[in-house]
Every structure is written in C-alpha cells, then in structure tokens.
C-alpha cells in the first residue's frame, strides 16, 4: 500500500506507539470495540470502499 499519501516513517512510528498505548490503557474487554470503532471512523474518513477492502485484505494476511 505504498501510495503518495503514505505516512512519513516518523508519523508511522508515532501512530504505532499511540495505538499500542491506547489499547493498553483500554484493557482487553474494550479493545475489540475500540478497534471496530476506529476502523469505521478511518473508513469514513478515507471515503473509498475499494481502499478499505484492500486494507482489510492486507490486514488479514499472515495472521497465524
């Protein structure tokens, strides 16, 4: 998913840490709900169905 709108490496690192800390702060019982909400919000902000489904395919790879 290397598109012109990719995050800079610095920002990617910041998102990585922020997400990790947010999940730690929420605790396991709220993590799934939070991630589902986050996905809907990001999808809405992206505004493009194809990009969202491609992202889902990418995320589904190599889960085991």
């Amino acid at each position: 998913m290397n598109t012109p709108s990719s995050l800079s490496f610095e920002d990617l690192e910041r998102v990585y840490a922020l997400l990790a800390e947010t999940i730690d702060g929420l605790g396991p019982e709220r993590e799934a709900l939070f991630l589902s909400k986050l996905t809907l919000v990001l999808a809405q902000a992206l505004g493009d169905f194809e990009t969202v489904t491609r992202a889902m395919d990418t995320a589904r790879r190599d889960l085991d």
Partner: protein
C-alpha cells in the same frame, strides 16, 4: 363439526363482533362453480375481495373464525397501503381512527442517536405512515363489504382439504352444521402464516430464520408521548436488549423487546415478569401514568417464502406466501400490495380478456418484491438482533460512535417499508422511453400522486382499469378502444396547459404536472389497474400503446 372459539370479550379497547354461520347453498344440494374463492378472511383476503369487486368479480371468502383477528398483529400502514385502501372505499373510516406519524427516534442507552423523519408532501393525500390496530382494519373492511354487498363472506368455515384438476379447485370444509365441498375456477390462499392450503398442497417456504426472540406486548396507558417510532438499544431499564414503542389508537402502546439468550421465554411471558420489565422502561422514560396489559406474545423473525406464489389454480398471498420480519413494517403492507397486484389480473383472466398466463406474472412481480424486503429486513434485523459476535461488535461500535457522529446513526435507520418498483416485470412495455425521462415515476413504479389545481389528487382520476395519462393530448388523439378485450376500456386522461380545459381533462396552467412527470407535449404514461406505470413515451403513438396494452393484459 367445526365450532370456532368465541372471540375474546375482555379487551381493554375493542369490542369483537361475532359473525354468525350462514348455511351455504352447497349444503342444500347446489354445486355452483365459483369464479374465485378466497381462503382466509384476514386483511389480505378481505382487501383482495374488495379489489376483485372493484374489477367486477364477486368472490366467496372462507374464514374459520367467527370474528376479526385478535392479538398484537399489524399496526403501521405505509402511504402506498393508504392509497390502496383509498381505492377500497374505507379511507373515511380508517383515517378517522388511525394515528398519523412522520418522526422516529432511536436511543443508545438513554441518549438519542438517530432521528427518523419522513416528510409529508403537499402533493400526496396521505402521510407517510399511520398506526391502526389490525382488528380495526378488518372491521372496516368487513363493514365495507357488507354495506355494498361486495362479496360473500362465509364465517365459521374451516378448510380441511383441497384438490385441483386442470379446470377447477375443490375445497373441503367443516362448519358448525357439518362438512361440505365447494368448487372454484381459482382459489386465492390468504390463510396466513400457518396456511392450511399451503400444508394441503405440500408446499414449503424456504429462506432464513433469524436469531433472537422478541416479546410483544400491547398496553393501555394514558401517555402524553407523541406518535413516533421509538427504539432503544441497550437501555438502562433492560440492559442488553433492544426495545421498541409505537403508539396506537385508543391509548394503546405496542411495546416490543428482545429477550436475551439467557432469558427463558416461558418465564418472560408471565404477566408479573412482563409488567416488571415494562414498568422499569416506563420509569426510565419518565412515564408515570397507570397502565394495564392488553395482550402479549412471543415473536421470532423469519425471512421465508414459497418458491412460486402460484400453484396451478391456487395463488398464495400475504403471510401464506411469505413471512417477513416486523422491523420496518413490511408484513401486512406487502400483503396489501399482493392483493392489489393479483386482483385485476384475476378479474381480467376470469372475464376472458386475458390469458391464464397473466396470473404467472403475479408471482414474477411479487416474489422479487419479497426478496427485496428480505434484503432490507435482514439488515434491520441484524442491527436489532445481531446474529453473531462480529455483527454484535460492529453494531455496538456503530451505536457507540453514533453518540458523537451522526453518520454512524444512519446505520440505526429502521429502513421503513418502501413500495416495490416492478422494474424488471414481464408486463412492462417492450419498448418505451423510460431511460430518456429525467423526472417522474419510472416504468414499473407506482404512479406518484400530485395535487391538482382544484385541490383534488391525481390518483383519484386513475383506474380502476388501465389509464392512459397524456400530456398535452387534449387536442384530441385517435380513439383508443380496447379491441377484443372485455375490459371496461382504457381511460384516457389528458393533462392540459389550458386553465379551463375540456371535461375529463386535468388543468395544468402552471405546468406543475408536466414538471412532476418530466413530461413534454405529446408525452404519455400508461398506468396499470394497480397504479403502477406500464410504460412511458415521449411521443404518443397509438400503435405502440396498443402493443403495450396487449402485453400488459396478456391478451
């Protein structure tokens, strides 16, 4: 011997009439071949009987009970159903009793997340939705039939069997005075979810049944709350459940709530338990008036239907043909649309004007309508009662987001019943200019109503037979009779830009109708007897319209 149970007499608002058994001619040695027999005197059967009478056919209606239906049944009627009821001649009775509504609110816990708004247009005679208990609708339909002697209603007649040959259907019945048989050229099975005819002919409905059991209760309470659809997801009064409230005439409220998987339906049905749960909810919404329980029952959502709504000479309508979830008020509204679709076809076939194959188009048009309902209802039901962990997670995510993001609240939209467009119908004109129009109802869609300069409505001028709506055609087109068909002729209705046009012509001095229908001079719409558009053309060509009429009537 079939002796129906006496109707309940302890209702808090409705006096159930008792209709006596009348000995039919078949029990005294006669054996006429009836044109059409309707099995089931519920709303779909009664609407079909009146629709048939409008088209000149007198039906026999067989009903096993001796009164109208009790219980928590259909409640909300769409604009399209109100328009159909208008044609049946029951509008005065219905509108005097019913409650009209245009708004709805959905809550997550105790905060509002979605507002449903169905604006009422000045073009249309009726509002988007009314609430009326089914027992009232049935009572008004029976009164209408009796007042004008439109059909033969046979109460206390229970179907015990049926057979059919190439020419007729024979039905076996049991009555308070014993058994008899009758013969009919065609039978309309409007005998409900547990259709005896469906059973008799060994027909199965297929589809999906949804998880989740709902408890439905009608309560009588003197509440000042407005007539709106209210839905609560996970309310503090009933954590984890979904609740719905709808106001009905006579101070009744319909309360639906979902039972959780860990709740035993039999325990939940106990009056004390119901009272506690409803009281807890009334407390939540600040309702302090005393109330009583009228009725309660359990409900499970199904999306199942027959593969074909026609079985030889038997045609299935309403719940006998399809069961749809209640969310979105699609059940009886689609049954009324069935009756509206079937009656004119049946009448035309019986009169000899149409080939029997016209009746095949009933299933070809109404079954896709059911499948579209399934699609909508499955989405609503999956939101109301999530069927899996994934659906529950996303539903909860949407609800939680909706507290701050209005776009997420749209996911809680109950998707109220919409009329179905017969866009792919085999009856639609083979060649028309539908694609060229930029406004107006498309081919297959129900004709949109419009307010006329005299304050009346366009729909009042349509039907009961086919109507040709011609724009600017008041300058006199060729005569268009209907050769070879014993149909009461095509009604020609011209729309004129003149302020004072000829009689039977609609005045449109401001071009309002032209605009609403995307029309230009010489443009015309062919309207079916059920009010749907069969074809529309930019230029009126009698030969083309004639061909469309032949196709429409399978002549």
């Amino acid at each position: 011997m079939h002796i129906p149970d006496a109707p309940r007499q302890d209702s808090l608002y409705f006096t159930y009439p008792v209709f006596p058994f009348t000995r039919p001619v078949e029990m005294d040695g006669e054996r006429p071949l009836h044109d059409v027999v309707i099995v089931g005197g519920g709303p779909v059967g009664l609407v079909t009987a009146i629709e048939l009478a409008r088209h000149g056919v007198r039906a026999v209606v067989l009903e096993s009970k001796s009164s109208v239906s009790d219980g928590s049944r259909a409640l909300a009627f769409s604009r399209r159903s109100q328009e159909i009821m208008h044609g049946l001649g029951i509008t005065t009775r219905v509108q005097a009793k019913a409650l009209s509504w245009t708004e709805g609110r959905s809550f997550y816990r105790d905060k509002i997340i979605f507002r449903l708004s169905m604006p009422r247009s000045a073009e249309e005679r009726f509002g988007p939705m009314i609430n009326l208990q089914q027992c009232y609708l049935e009572k008004f339909l029976v009164e209408r039939i009796a007042d004008a002697d439109l059909a033969e209603l046979r109460w206390c007649n229970q179907v015990t069997g049926a057979t059919q040959t190439a020419d007729k259907v024979t039905i076996s019945l049991d009555t308070p005075e014993g058994a008899y048989q009758l013969d009919a050229r065609y039978v309309i099975a409007a005998d409900g979810a547990r259709s005896a005819l469906r059973e008799t002919f060994g027909l199965r409905m297929s589809g999906a049944s949804h998880e989740g059991v709902y408890l439905i209760a009608d309560i009588k309470i003197d509440s000042a709350l407005p007539t709106e659809r209210h839905a609560w997801f996970d309310p503090p009064s009933n954590p984890g459940a979904t609740m719905l409230m709808h106001k009905q005439p006579d101070g009744l409220w319909r309360v639906d709530y979902q039972l959780r998987e860990d709740q035993d339906p039999e325990v939940e049905l106990q009056p004390e338990r119901i009272k506690a749960r409803i009281q807890s909810h009334l407390d939540l919404i600040g309702e302090t008036a005393p109330w009583e329980l009228e009725m309660s029952s359990l409900y499970k959502a199904h999306c199942i239907c027959l593969d074909d709504y026609r079985h030889g000479r038997v045609l299935f309508a309403g719940d006998a043909a399809h069961l749809v979830p209640i969310f979105g008020v699609r059940g009886l509204n689609s049954g009324i649309a069935d009756a509206n679709n079937l009656a004119w076809k049946m009448a035309s076939v019986l009169s000899g004007g149409s080939a029997d194959r016209l009746l095949d188009s009933y299933s070809a048009e109404r079954r896709p309508a059911t499948l579209e309902i399934f699609e909508q209802a499955t989405k609503s039901t999956a939101f109301m009662t999530p069927p899996s962990r994934g659906y529950r997670l996303l539903r909860d995510a949407a609800l939680s987001l909706a507290l701050s993001q209005p776009w997420a609240g749209e996911l809680a939209n109950p998707r109220q019943s919409q009329p179905y467009d017969y866009a792919d119908s085999p009856l639609n004109a083979e060649t028309d200019d539908d694609a060229v129009f930029t406004a107006g109802p498309r081919t297959g869609a129900p004709l949109a109503d419009a307010r006329l300069t005299d304050g009346n409505h366009l729909l009042d001028h349509i039907g009961p037979g086919p109507t040709l709506l011609g724009f600017g055609l008041d300058k006199q087109g060729p005569d268009l009779d209907w050769p070879g068909v014993k149909w009461p002729g095509v009604k020609r209705l011209a729309v004129s830009r003149s302020a004072a046009p000829a009689p039977d012509t609609l005045a449109d001095p401001h071009g309002h109708l032209f605009e609403r229908f995307g029309a230009t001079e010489d443009c015309c719409y062919l309207i079916r007897p059920d009010g749907h558009v069969a074809g529309r053309w930019r230029t009126y060509d009698p030969g083309v319209v004639e061909a469309a009429l032949q196709r429409l009537f399978a002549a």
